[in-house]
């Protein structure tokens, strides 16, 4: 295989893998930047995947080609609503954020499978007929070399993820909302003395994380698995969490980390066809993405500092 061919395979598949992780990791950023640890990303993805698939199956005749897009909007809303549970527990009820997040994960998988059995009377849904499809991006696909690698045989959702990451970066670092969000996650009491409603900001952070996690799940299910079952979301939420930490709670960093994960995965798949990797036992390629991540963290990323107040409760008047 020529390098060009390799890239033409690796890049789109990298981006395909990365997209759901990017959305979800961005969600995690909103939550954690507001000071609420969100280990429930996995559960939020589950909710998103479930909602998107059920919606897609139910309304595909009504909405036709637009179904997957509308489905991710519905998944977004479902994720946002579901994340309210985490918000209420972690912010209002002063639950330990991690415990509450674990509860979210357990609840999401239990509830969705229960509903699948209730609705369809079986353990998993049918396959959707209208998912996200491969496309060539008009105009850009004709750019020499670059066009072939980046803009052919790819998915709109991959580019949407990148665009959303840039928007999130802008929102978090360039707007008053972002400044306030971050201040609440770093030093809620300081924010309070500046007249910022800490509780409101934290609720917003969590709800947005639910919305983005929902999108992540919806994108994953509709562009990759095409149905919903117990194994549709199995660890992607944790990978997104890892991407968020890897990316140092920075939207573009998280995007980069997610793309790195996607890349490592793709390499593990294509590796067996590359001449210089062919002789290596498969197990090395299978563990490569994870080992590479650890090495990368150890070697040149180093320590990552979470927002200072993340995981803490803000109780007015306490010190």
């Amino acid at each position: 295989m020529s390098l060009m061919e390799i890239l033409m395979i690796v890049v789109p598949s990298t981006l395909l893998w990365a997209a759901p992780l990017v959305f979800t990791a961005l969600g995690g950023i909103f939550s954690e930047r507001s000071g609420v640890v969100n280990i429930g990303l996995e559960g939020l993805m589950v909710i998103g995947a479930f909602t998107a698939i059920v919606f897609n199956l139910t309304f595909v005749d009504t909405f036709g080609n637009w179904t997957p897009w509308i489905a991710i909007i519905v998944a977004m809303v479902a994720g946002a609503i579901f994340s309210l549970l985490h918000a209420v527990a972690a912010i209002t009820f002063r639950a330990d954020h991690t415990v509450s997040g674990v509860a979210i994960n357990l609840l999401a998988s239990g509830l969705t499978l229960f509903l699948v059995k209730l609705i369809y009377d079986k353990g998993e849904t049918d396959i959707i007929s209208q998912g996200f499809n491969k496309i060539d991006i008009p105009v850009l696909k004709d750019i020499p070399v670059i066009g072939k690698i980046f803009f052919q045989n790819t998915y709109w959702t991959s580019f949407l993820a990148i665009i959303v990451a840039i928007i999130v970066w802008y929102v978090v670092f360039k707007t008053p909302f972002g400044l306030r969000l971050r201040s609440v996650g770093e030093h809620p009491m300081a924010a309070d003395t500046m007249g910022i409603n800490v509780t409101k900001m934290r609720y917003l952070g969590v709800i947005i994380s639910g919305a983005l996690g929902g999108i992540g799940g919806g994108v994953y299910a509709q562009s990759i698995t095409s149905n919903f079952s117990h194994s549709t979301i199995s660890g992607q939420g944790f990978m997104a969490l890892a991407a968020m930490i890897f990316g140092k709670w920075h939207p573009l960093g998280a995007m980069g980390a997610a793309i790195f994960f996607g890349f490592a995965q793709s390499i593990s798949i294509i590796g067996s066809s590359l001449p210089f990797l062919k002789e290596i036992p498969n197990v090395y390629l299978l563990i490569a993405p994870y080992v590479l991540t650890v090495l990368a963290l150890t070697g040149f990323i180093g320590r990552a500092d979470a927002p200072k107040a993340s995981g803490t409760h803000y109780i007015k008047g306490s010190r």
Binding site: S100, P281, T293
Partner: protein, 348 residues
């Protein structure tokens, strides 16, 4: 006095609330809740067989819970129990299959191998945290996947000749007991429960009663103060992960030498490690708490298997109930507020 009472009451109320909400969900979805709970009860305690199975399930849950709780007490979040569990399982089986030794040596050796494997697997994130300040959450997640693939590879290519399953461990390395099986009507109950209970005691004693535990807890609460006081923060971080990993490896040994007696190639995670997180958190990261929450989990999980058959209710309902219980325990602050209000009114 009242406070202590409330401390015990809160989790009980959380469990009740979980069951109540679960009931509501069932009623709303048109299932027969009474039949479901009857089936759940029967499936967990209805026959001596099921009691044995509950205890069998309870055993790795305790140890996986301890593995999470121990690290948590030192301020580390060990999501890697699943991986440590898998390597422990494999190591125990490997020793159990490969040697021919008297039981008095073979069994402890197999168990030690599991602990060592789990400890080694946890040492890596601990070391990276201590040495390079790499976030243990990511490393432990990654180590889970590595464990899954590596153990599969070893089972297929090293222990067996391209098979999916190892031989049974030798009798001399088995935790199984005909007697335990016979009193529980052929359940897979094995001696591991004794080890798990010892594990609870060890964790309690180590953390609460020893100088080493004093250090570990100090590091967990305030690394700067621990450093100031002459404790080695890095050493304690690594040590806590190693001990947590040993617990997780031990949990794997329970499966490898007890419940299953062999190791298989796995398509995905067993879930025991992740359930361990919930067990630990529900148990407030104390050993006694872990003991009781593991019991609850074990009973619910085993009992749930009976629900579809006997009551036609999807067993995911139990997952929902468990999630709700964790949720309510997490929100115990609000339960406490209500309790306080309630008891104040009583006094007046």
């Amino acid at each position: 006095m009242l406070k202590r009472f409330n401390n015990i009451l809160t989790p009980i109320i959380a469990v009740l609330l979980g069951i109540i909400v679960g009931t509501i969900i069932m009623v709303v979805s048109g299932y027969d809740a009474v039949a479901a709970f009857t089936a759940l009860w029967n499936g967990a305690f209805g026959e001596s067989y099921y009691v044995g199975e509950v205890v069998r399930q309870f055993t790795p849950y305790i140890l996986a819970g301890l593995a999470v709780a121990f690290a948590f007490r030192v301020g580390l979040f060990n999501i890697g129990v699943e991986g440590q569990f898998l390597v422990g399982w494999l190591a125990a089986v490997w020793v159990g299959v490969a040697f021919d030794l008297p039981k008095i040596i073979h069994l402890p050796l197999a168990i030690l191998a599991a602990m060592a494997a789990g400890a080694l697997w946890a040492f890596i994130p601990g070391f990276l945290k201590a040495r390079f300040r790499v976030h243990e959450v990511i490393v432990t997640i990654m180590m889970n996947y590595v464990a899954l693939h590596v153990t599969n590879y070893i089972i297929k290519n090293i222990i067996t000749d391209n098979k999916d399953k190892t031989d049974l461990v030798k009798e001399s390395a088995s935790l199984r007991s005909d007697w335990l099986q016979s009193i529980t009507d052929y359940s897979r109950l094995h001696w591991g429960i004794v080890i798990a209970i010892i594990g609870c005691f060890v964790m309690w004693f180590l953390l609460e009663r020893t100088t080493r535990g004093f250090e570990l807890r100090a590091v967990g609460f305030n690394q700067h103060a621990a450093h100031y006081a002459g404790m080695s923060v890095n050493k304690n971080i690594i040590l806590s992960m190693v001990i947590a990993g040993a617990f997780a490896g031990l949990a794997g040994a329970m499966e490898g030498l007890g419940t299953f007696g062999y190791a298989t190639v796995k398509g995905g995670f067993t879930g025991v490690g992740f359930d361990g997180i919930a067990v630990a958190l529900l148990g407030g990261n104390t050993s006694i708490g872990v003991f009781f929450s593991a019991l609850l989990f074990g009973a619910l999980k085993v009992g749930a298997l009976n629900m579809p058959l006997e009551a036609g209710v999807p067993n995911e309902l139990v997952d929902i109930i468990i999630a709700l219980i964790v949720f309510f325990v997490a929100s115990s602050y609000i339960i406490r507020v209500f309790l306080d209000r309630f008891s104040k009114k009583e006094v007046k």
